[in-house]
């Protein structure tokens, strides 16, 4: 037939982008609930502030770029939630606002908006406030302490286990309590059991690729075993390294961002493993107790390179193993 009819698929799978973002939000809500449980009303208000500011900044970003804002775009809410859940509950409000504004208006829209951003906005926002106000972002209140809902916090603030590790000491928290989240740390990153459950949920819904968290946690554990910061032994080192800071939270929500990570399978393995190694390197030698965000930002710039080189390597490997007969085999259906 001479009429050029372009082949278009007529059926669609059920999952849509809105569903993917919705799944992420569903996975983050239990963490917000746990933050509210441990830190009271202030945590909830901080979360709401972050969500509202992110959403408004996103719409403003679209308007500045001259595009029509899409009210169904929930990705900025996910960014805001991730940013705020990595902060202590005692953080001043303006820091959360600043982090969210930075994440949306500097890390996301100037690079092209949703789907085009090179760097993870949440990681960038957190990194910015971490460098600017380290004393506010890295000191944590004790769980169940009474925190003022508004204004600044006057309760006593302590260091997190990650800081103790950096000094070379042994954290004194019971591992069971650490699993449940009953120790000072970032609002959303302390509840290890809840995070693991959310990871299983996201894997079941296929919103994240399992290769990235597995590679990340595996590489971190390996480095923790090989180069422990605790003299007691390997198993304690692995335990405390993985449970302290926002490593597991980042493994589930920050590193697995589909927009900024690589797209091929082999690339994702490489990215996860390198992210684990880089995070631990930042923890050992960096200036702050937590290096996840900086490691993620560096590796984001290499995502496309990882994709490209792994496909090239696999193509050479395939050609070397099968010879050129492979090409003619694939041509005939």
């Amino acid at each position: 037939m001479s009429k050029k009819t372009r082949l278009t698929a007529q059926l669609r799978a059920r999952d849509t982008s809105a569903v993917i973002m919705g799944d992420m939000i569903i996975a983050l809500v239990p963490l917000c609930v746990m933050a509210f449980y441990y830190y009271g009303l202030r945590a909830a208000l901080l979360t709401l502030t972050a969500v509202a500011v992110s959403y408004a900044a996103d719409m403003a970003g679209y308007a500045i770029r001259g595009k029509l804002p899409n009210p169904k775009d929930l990705s900025s809410i996910v960014t805001g939630l991730i940013v705020v859940l990595m902060m202590p509950a005692s953080v001043p409000y303006f820091i959360v606002v600043l982090a969210c504004l930075f994440a949306i208006l500097v890390m996301k829209h100037p690079f092209g908006g949703l789907g085009n951003n090179v760097f993870n906005p949440a990681a960038g926002g957190f990194a910015f406030v971490a460098i600017s106000f380290p004393q506010s972002v890295f000191t944590y209140p004790v769980p169940f302490a009474q925190l003022e809902p508004f204004g600044n916090v006057t309760a006593a603030l302590v260091e997190s286990p990650a800081f103790t590790l950096k000094l070379g000491g042994l954290p004194t928290y019971d591992p069971v309590q650490m699993l449940l989240g009953n120790y000072p740390g970032p609002m959303g990153a302390t509840n290890i059991l809840v995070i693991l459950t959310c990871l299983l949920f996201l894997l079941y819904r296929k919103s994240v690729d399992w290769r990235i968290p597995v590679g990340f946690v595996g590489a971190s554990a390996l480095i923790a075993v090989l180069f422990p910061r605790i003299v007691l032994g390997a198993e304690y080192s692995v335990l405390y390294e993985l449970l302290s800071g926002s490593l597991l939270f980042g493994a589930v929500f920050v590193v697995t961002d589909p927009v900024t990570g690589p797209k091929t399978r082999a690339g994702r393995w490489l990215y996860g493993i390198l992210a684990g190694v880089a995070t631990l390197l930042f923890r050992h030698f960096g200036g702050f107790e937590e290096g996840l965000c900086f490691a993620v930002l560096i590796l984001n710039s290499l995502s496309h390179v990882m994709d490209r080189e792994t496909t090239r390597l696999s193509r050479y490997l395939r050609r070397w193993m099968h010879g050129d007969a492979q090409l003619s085999e694939e041509k005939s259906k």
């Binding site: 372009r6 082949l7 278009t8 698929a9 007529q10 059926l11 669609r12 927009v259």
Partner: protein, 399 residues
Amino acid sequence: MQLRKKGVPLEQRKDPAISRPIAHYLFPKKAYLRLPGDAALKHGDQVQIDEPVFTVKNQAVFSPIDAMVEEILRPSFDPDHTYAALRNTVTPTQRQVIQINDPETVEADRILGFAKKCSVLDAMDGEFLYQKLERLQDKRKLVIVGDAIDDEPMVSSRVGPLLKLTAEAAGGLRLVQRALDATEGCFAVFGDSGDAVRFPKTLSGIPVVKLRGHYPARLRLKNEIKKRYPGRQSVIISVPALIHLYRAVVYEKPQSSTFVTVAGDAVANPANVEVALGTPVGEVLRFAGLAKEPKRLIAGGTMAGYRITDTETPVRYGLRCLIADTSDGRRTRYECIGCARCVKACPVGINPYLAYRYIDGKNRRYRWLELDKCIKCGLCSYICPSNIDVASYIQSVLD
């Protein structure tokens, strides 16, 4: 890594069309016949069913119905070619089918002659059957595969005729076996139908090879045949072509019809219909019964097909199905979020995400992506959560 089933599981939904007997709609009120460049017909000419009207490239083109040429026109559905609109002049009657040749005793070299005389065409690759048989005449150790693989949901235009017109399909297969002197033959079907369709192990004494796995299954056909029949070269002919070959040999009936699956929520009686070529699509739908007003009409396949907007579009060889849906099928198109589900779903391993980014950004690097490996399965568009039509982007640079 062949451990898990390759491909994407699709809900097949072939019922009820596949379990109903084949309906026949061979006496449409109107039919369109595409004319070659010169004026082969003029207004007022009479054509008779199954009589050659003109020849194109030494191959006779037969009239699908007894008709009078009502009009010579360039229709809206295909303004580049001239068509003859034929109006049916006889009332539908049951034609007497007289068996002319006995399929058991006809000689091998005459089979090719019948295939050529009756213009039997294999709709799957658009090649005339006699040309295919001529090419393979000297080869030894062949296995004839009757292709009845329908891995797209709702479409059963090959496997339906196989199940309901088994004698003709098996007869056609045996004729090809005799023409090429091949001892082995089988039917290939797609096994995971999901619906209550059970394929027997043999159909009329010919073994049935079931392809396992998910969509798209056609890729694995050659390997499966190689496994079953080692050392033999496979000859793949679609089952409707075998049926037409059987009719060409036994009744000397030229090929002037095709099998179309009519399905969808708007159709009252979904079934596989044997339709005379050139029948307007609207007539076929009315024959199948429209329970509701269809909002879209899909032809050519449910995964990699196209929309038909003009109901006067005639039925032709490649039109495997007519799906009339009440829903428009439009979904909100979001921006690409780089989730790489298309990369995971692509069966041949090109990177549709990267191809989309390059093509959309008018970057010529897509040429390095080996896009001609694309088998047009449409899975990348199917699975995209942002409802981006990735497959059409890739197709747009392949032509």
